[in-house]
């Protein structure tokens, strides 16, 4: 479904590389976890894949369902079925969740030759999807993330994903800052959304999310590269040992390899 090859990226207009050759393959039906210390480039990877204009790809390719998407705008990538749950969902006062989602859902439907939903149909659909994340109706009337608690913002990202039904979602630290109840609701929601036709990439700092969601693959990212990939046991290993061991291992040869 997604193939990232030797991806290098920097902040637009600057020299310093943040991503220094990322390779990653994701297939339909899989759940991946990307872990790694702060500043290793996890969020940058997610944003570059979603088409954030702040970053420039200097080398490599991103192939999504056979198509090179590196030149596409963020909205075009969303139309193809990509979704990013932001690490820091921003507040957009004055635009309600409902307004955004209807515009968003119908644009994606239109671009894919599917039928748009009229306001009444869409309302029914929204109500059904609210159950995925155990949210109340009034949530729809509120301005996007405005005045939301940290946990509500994260839930709102999962809710948007539940409504838009992307093929591939990058979820950037959707678990961080959640109390145990919220964590259960969020992981429950993600488990409900995950299916054989889609794929999910969980970017996380902690093993704790992985107690609720079982990944098929775990990757460790360090200094702009994926340095290790394995099954779910890798997460437990990291939980025990931390990143120090790996950091030593991968700094022996310095920047090379």
């Amino acid at each position: 479904m997604l193939e990232i090859k030797n991806l290098h990226a920097c902040v637009e207009g600057e020299d310093e590389q943040i991503l220094k050759g990322v390779n990653l393959t994701i297939n339909k039906g899989e759940i991946h976890a990307i872990m790694g210390p702060n500043g290793s480039g996890k969020s940058t990877l997610a944003k570059v894949v979603s088409g954030h204009p702040e970053y420039e790809i200097t080398e490599g390719e991103i192939i999504f369902e056979g198509e090179d998407i590196t030149e596409l705008d963020a909205d075009e990538r969303a139309h193809l079925g990509l979704f990013l749950a932001f690490q820091y969902p921003i507040e957009v006062p004055g635009i309600t969740n409902r307004t955004l989602l209807r515009e968003s859902y119908n644009t994606i439907a239109r671009e894919n030759g599917r039928e748009e939903l009229d306001p009444l149909e869409f309302d029914d659909y929204l109500k059904e999807r609210l159950e995925v994340i155990d949210m109340k109706d009034e949530f729809l009337e509120r301005s996007i993330n405005t005045g939301f608690s940290g946990g509500e913002k994260k839930k709102n990202e999962v809710f948007q994903m539940a409504v838009l039904n992307p093929k591939l979602a990058f979820m950037d630290e959707t678990d961080s800052g959640l109390d145990i109840d919220a964590l259960k609701v969020v992981s429950d929601g993600i488990n409900k959304i995950a299916g054989p036709e889609n794929a999910i990439v969980l970017i996380t700092h902690y093993q704790r999310l992985l107690n609720y969601i079982t990944p098929d693959h775990v990757h460790v990212m360090m200094n702009g590269r994926i340095v290790k990939s394995a099954g779910k046991e890798l997460a437990l290993e990291l939980e025990d040992q931390g990143y120090e061991q790996l950091e030593k291992e991968f700094s022996v040869n310095g920047e090379a390899q």
Binding site: L100, S104, E111
Partner: protein, 445 residues
């Protein structure tokens, strides 16, 4: 009138007219005479005048305006698209400043209430008592209020007696037609609301074509004790027009006056709203929403005068500027020595969509009292790039994302509209404003 040699230019340099003839209505005649004297005396403003420092008046001074009767103005056709369904029978129509009885209808107005043109009420006691008693623009040697005084022979007269509520919104619709020559016109409004009366007024200025004219308006609103007025002002003048507006409200005890001025049209719009507090415990609003692009100039110089205890005032002035448009805001707030317990809110928020747009903003507080809650602020910003990306990443085009964000910026102002169809009309205007083909250039963090 004497035509003594002037050291400075007066407005008479830019227009034709015979200001020697006065109305045969005594209440108006006196003002005509006073105005005629003033316009030949008051110098036309220049950038050296503090109140006109940033305002480019060349669209007036490089033009020449004739009276409507000499302009070769087109007759008005069907303008029903501008009617408000809520005000089907509570509407006054003025065409190029002249009252049009055929297009007006006031059958929904209660019998004890006056909604009509001044000329039809020439000997009404209220008109005689109040007309011209509230404007104070002469103190500033204001040539525009003087021109209105000198030239108007008719106008809108609204009188709501004691404890009377006018249910239907009163729609004062000023339409402007195309003409061979640039003309000037001077709409005038007198509103008198007696004790505990209540009314909603929608004052609208709308051009049928994009022609040149000079629209100089004076509004006098007198609210007696406990009177309550909601006043929506919608300015959709021609983008080649000049609209100079002088609305003043005098509030007695417990009066509530809430006005919302929406500026969409005009090449030059200059609005000097003033509110004068005559007694304690008044509550008032002079909000504004400005959406301008091209080479439009929108200038608001407001003055709020708190003279007594317990006043609550609100002024949210929101501005969106695109292209080379220019917004000016100068908000004077006075709190006199004897007025305590004042709660005054003023905020000017500017959204700049282009690199070449200009915003000048200056809150001006003059507070001589100590028990005052006065919040004020001014911001100038671009669209937030992170907000744009958030929406963009959800599948919306950048253009759509920006449209939604501008729409969101204006919404707070539009939601204050009481009349449903006005609310809707403004939402449509915002969509029209934002959904141009080009993208907005400027973004920021």
């Amino acid at each position: 009138m004497s035509t003594a040699v002037q050291e400075k230019e007066t407005i008479l340099n830019f227009l034709d007219g015979d200001f020697g003839t006065v109305s045969n209505i005594p209440a108006i005649a006196g003002l005509n005479e006073k105005g005629a004297g003033n316009i030949s005396e008051f110098p036309f403003p220049t950038k050296k005048d503090e109140d006109w420092r940033f305002t480019d008046l060349r669209s007036i001074s490089r033009n020449h305006f004739v009276p409507v009767s000499e302009a070769g103005a087109n007759p008005v056709g069907d303008i029903s698209e501008y009617y408000l369904p809520e005000a089907t029978n509570s509407r006054l129509v003025f065409v190029n400043g002249e009252f049009n009885p055929e297009l007006s209808s006031t059958s929904d107005i209660p019998k004890n209430v006056v909604v009509g043109n001044m000329a039809a009420y020439s000997d009404h006691e209220i008109l005689e008592t109040h007309l011209g008693k509230y404007t104070n623009y002469d103190d500033d040697r204001d040539v525009f209020a003087a021109l209105n005084d000198a030239n108007f022979k008719d106008g809108t007269f609204i009188y709501v007696p004691k404890e009377t509520k006018v249910e239907a919104p009163i729609h004062v619709l000023n339409v402007f037609t195309d003409a061979e020559k640039a003309f000037y016109t001077t709409p005038r409004v007198l509103f008198v609301g007696e004790a505990y009366s209540k009314a909603t007024i929608v004052e609208e200025h709308v051009a049928l074509t994009q022609n040149e004219y000079l629209n100089v308006t004076v509004n006098e609103f007198k609210l007696f004790e406990g009177a309550h007025v909601h006043h929506a002002r919608i300015q959709r003048d021609s983008k080649k027009a000049n609209h100079i507006s002088r609305p003043i409200a005098h509030l007695d005890k417990y009066a509530e006056y809430h006005s919302y001025t929406i500026c969409l049209g005009a090449k030059l719009f200059r609005n000097d709203p003033r509110v004068v507090q005559n007694d304690e415990e008044v509550d008032f609003t002079i909000d504004g929403l400005v959406l301008i692009d091209g080479d439009q100039i929108a200038d608001t110089h407001s003055a709020i005068d708190h003279r007594h205890w317990h006043a609550k005032s609100h002024q949210l002035h929101k501005v969106v500027v695109n292209d080379e448009a220019h917004s000016i805001f100068n908000g004077k707030i006075f709190v006199r020595e004897d007025s305590q317990k004042i709660d005054s809110f003023q905020e000017n928020r500017n959204l700049l969509l282009s690199v070449d747009g200009t915003v000048h903003t200056k809150p001006q507080l003059e507070i001589f009292s100590d028990d005052v809650l006065c919040s004020h602020g001014a911001t100038i910003g671009h669209l937030n790039e992170d907000e744009v990306f958030y929406l963009h990443s959800r599948g919306l085009t950048k253009k759509k994302a920006r449209e939604l964000l501008v729409y969101a910026f204006t919404l707070e102002s539009i939601e204050t509209m009481e009349v449903e169809s006005v609310h809707k009309l403004l939402l449509d205007e915002v969509v029209k404003y934002t959904s141009r083909d080009e993208e907005f250039v400027a973004v920021g963090k």
